[in-house]
């Protein structure tokens, strides 16, 4: 009996490691950085770290839902940039427009993604690749081929969303946490969330079990679009302007943090909290690279690539040892 319990707890431990592999790496990484770099643990640095991560986190939240459903959304980067431009543009007409305009447009793009994917059976990869182009094209059209940058009036209340702080910590961080909490609730505690898992796990079965597959997919991509829009709004408020050059390649960042967080790209399994950990890990790595300071910028990308690989390989090996 005792022998059994030990193996049982051993297996459970391996299970925790696998599911929380990224979290373990994160904790170890933070600890190491804390000791190695004198400035790492400073309040300013930590504040900076979480604030920087919050924009990507919001995008990755939507991506998590999409990936759990077995899909992928490549349009988030462009959509994010578009959201930022629209928010800055809308800020001329007041706070409400600054928030609702980008939300509406980005959600609409997500909605169309979802519609095409759910109703025509086209592959998400290619549909969202097309809307990546579309959203970027729209952004350029709105800004005279990128020549116009809309500025937010420095006195605008809108700026608080990006630049305000509560207890010294940036407003975007709080908003991100709130969104993640809601996201967790949505994924774990609603029928919608259960449908998402079911669609990702076995779409055909989900159809036969009478789940509203098409509707769920459409909602998912709309959600992802909307969250990219939210990230755009926060960024516009943070940067005080609708910067046209952001968001290039952000979709790949979002996908990698979601995967680092332990969500299966094949769908059917994943966690919101894992994504948060993934975002923090990525930010941590960038911060550490800065702290080291001597790394040639070309080496930095080699290191990021290698790091991504190491985390994924470790996770994979842990997962294997668990099923053994």
């Amino acid at each position: 009996m005792t022998a059994q319990t030990t193996t049982a707890s051993g297996a459970a431990f391996a299970g925790v490691l696998q599911r929380q592999g990224a979290a373990v790496v994160l904790v170890l990484g933070i600890a190491a950085a804390w000791f190695a770099f004198p400035h790492f643990g400073s309040a300013d640095n930590l504040r900076n770290l979480v604030l920087q991560g919050s924009f990507l986190a919001v995008i990755a939240l939507g991506m998590t839902f999409v990936i759990i459903s077995g899909g992928i959304d490549l349009s988030v980067g462009s959509n994010y940039a578009l959201g930022g431009v629209l928010a800055a543009y809308g800020a001329q007409y007041g706070l409400v427009v600054a928030i609702l305009l980008p939300l509406a447009v980005c959600s609409l793009i997500g909605f169309v993604n979802g519609l095409l994917i759910a109703r025509t059976g086209m592959a998400p990869f290619i549909v969202t690749l097309a809307s990546l182009l579309f959203a970027r094209g729209l952004l350029l059209a709105l800004t005279a081929e990128g020549a116009t940058t809309y500025k937010v009036d420095p006195g605008s209340a809108f700026l608080w969303l990006g630049q305000g702080t509560i207890f010294g910590i940036g407003v975007p961080v709080y908003l991100t946490l709130v969104l993640f909490a809601l996201g967790g609730l949505l994924l774990r505690r609603t029928r919608f969330g259960q449908s998402v898992f079911a669609i990702g796990g076995a779409e055909q079965s989900a159809v036969l079990m009478g789940l509203p597959v098409a509707r769920t997919k459409i909602s998912l991509y709309t959600l992802s679009g909307a969250l990219a829009g939210v990230a755009g709004i926060l960024t516009a408020a943070y940067l005080q302007s609708g910067v046209t050059v952001i968001g290039v390649g952000t979709e790949l960042d979002a996908i990698s943090v979601v995967v680092i967080g332990g969500t299966l790209l094949t769908g059917g399994a994943g966690t919101i909290i894992g994504t948060l950990v993934g975002v923090l890990l990525r930010t941590l790595i960038q911060n550490v690279i800065n702290q080291i300071g001597t790394l040639d910028s070309n080496y930095q990308t080699v290191v990021s690539g290698a790091f991504l690989l190491v985390v994924v390989v470790i996770q994979r090996l842990l997962a294997r040892s668990r099923t053994r």
Binding site: H39, S42, D44, N45, N48, L49, L51, Q52, F55, L56, L139, L140, T143, E145, G146, A147, T149, K151, G162, Q163, T235, Y238, L239, Q240, S241, G242, V243, T244, V245, I246, V248, G249, L252, T283, Q286, N287, N290, Q291, G293, T294, D296, S297, N298, Q300, T301
Partner: protein
């Protein structure tokens, strides 16, 4: 993709540190800002680079900062260097992180003219002067940042148009190879060029397509344009790389660049200037990336209490048939 098409841009001035600081009566002084005085020799200096050092401009720029710091005797652990890998949020975070690590003076090569406000605010809060190089930010000089050192992109475009008028003799059909969309450098160089070109009625723009500051894209686009507009007699490329790409395309199509089709571009890289010498190129408006000496000089003056003008615009050099052979050594690679 984190490799945004490199935008070897701007900045400028003839080689080394020659400058023509626009003199200004009441510049920004240490007193005015109320910043503490620091000694450049012992201070912690931060340099935030915007993009990977993967093109001549960025390589030379970063190297120039490092070299000058070494020359001034700044210890290597006192010079903090970060690279934002073309990610604006990351550049803000980089700057904040350097401030956090005790940077007392900052040199920033902004990724974009807009959007660095949070980083500048952080520097202001810590009373750290910021010199922006190569690209101007749209914030308030002296309050948000100390000064901008670099060239005027609009003016570069204008001068390219003048060079074009000279090379073509004032008549011709012009194709423009634009830089990356959404980039301020592209916007300014296009605006300057077109406005100035309007003064020469004989020159008309027949096509403008983006070559994304990239040689191979420039080449591909040019190949297409040669087919659809065989009457093109001049090409304005918004950086040298695209210009060189256009030369390749023209050669492959059996035309002789520099003669049948005139080529003018901006940057001043060795490859382009050498092509002028070889006779396949017509003019290059220079953008000099060697900001190191000037940046540190400016900071030194500021700490000395001297007034610093809001922007230090460098009079760009220019290469054409008349001087390329002598000056090719000034170009950078």
């Amino acid at each position: 993709r984190e490799e945004t098409p490199a935008a070897p841009s701007n900045g400028g001035g003839p080689a080394a540190s020659a400058q023509s600081a626009a003199p200004s009566a009441d510049g920004c002084t240490l007193e005015k800002t109320g910043y503490p005085k620091v000694d450049l020799k012992t201070a912690v200096v931060g340099f935030s680079q915007s993009e990977k050092e993967a093109n001549p401009f960025r390589i030379t720029e970063t190297q120039s900062i490092r070299d000058e710091a070494a020359k001034l005797g700044i210890a290597s652990d006192k010079l903090l260097v970060t690279n934002a890998q073309s990610d604006l949020n990351r550049q803000i975070s980089d700057i904040k992180s350097m401030l956090d690590r005790g940077a007392q003076l900052l040199v920033v090569a902004p990724l974009n003219s807009d959007g660095l406000q949070p980083a500048l605010d952080a520097a202001k809060a810590k009373k750290v002067p910021v010199v922006t190089i190569d690209r101007k930010v749209t914030s308030q000089p002296c309050t948000d940042y100390l000064t901008f050192i670099g060239s005027n992109f609009v003016e570069q475009g204008q001068r390219a148009a003048q060079a074009m008028a000279k090379a073509t003799g004032g008549t011709g059909k012009v194709a423009i190879l634009l830089g990356s969309s959404g980039n301020n450098v592209t916007t300014d160089r296009t605006k300057g060029f077109k406005d100035e070109l309007a003064k020469t009625p004989g020159l008309t723009v027949v096509a403008e397509q983006t070559g994304e500051f990239d040689r191979s894209k420039g080449q591909s686009v040019m190949e297409q344009l040669i087919q659809s507009h065989p009457d093109i007699t001049a090409v304005y490329a918004e950086n040298d790389e695209m210009g060189v790409g256009a030369v390749n395309a023209l050669k492959t199509a059996g035309k002789s660049p520099g003669k049948d089709v005139k080529i003018v571009s901006i940057d001043g890289t060795r490859n382009a200037v050498q092509l002028i010498v070889d006779g396949s190129y017509n003019a290059v408006i220079e953008s000099n990336p060697r900001f190191g000496p000037l940046a540190f000089q400016t900071l030194q003056k500021f700490e000395n209490g001297e007034p610093i003008p809001a922007s230090i615009v460098i009079s760009d050099d220019q290469y054409d048939e008349s001087n390329a052979a002598q000056k090719v050594g000034n170009s950078y690679k």
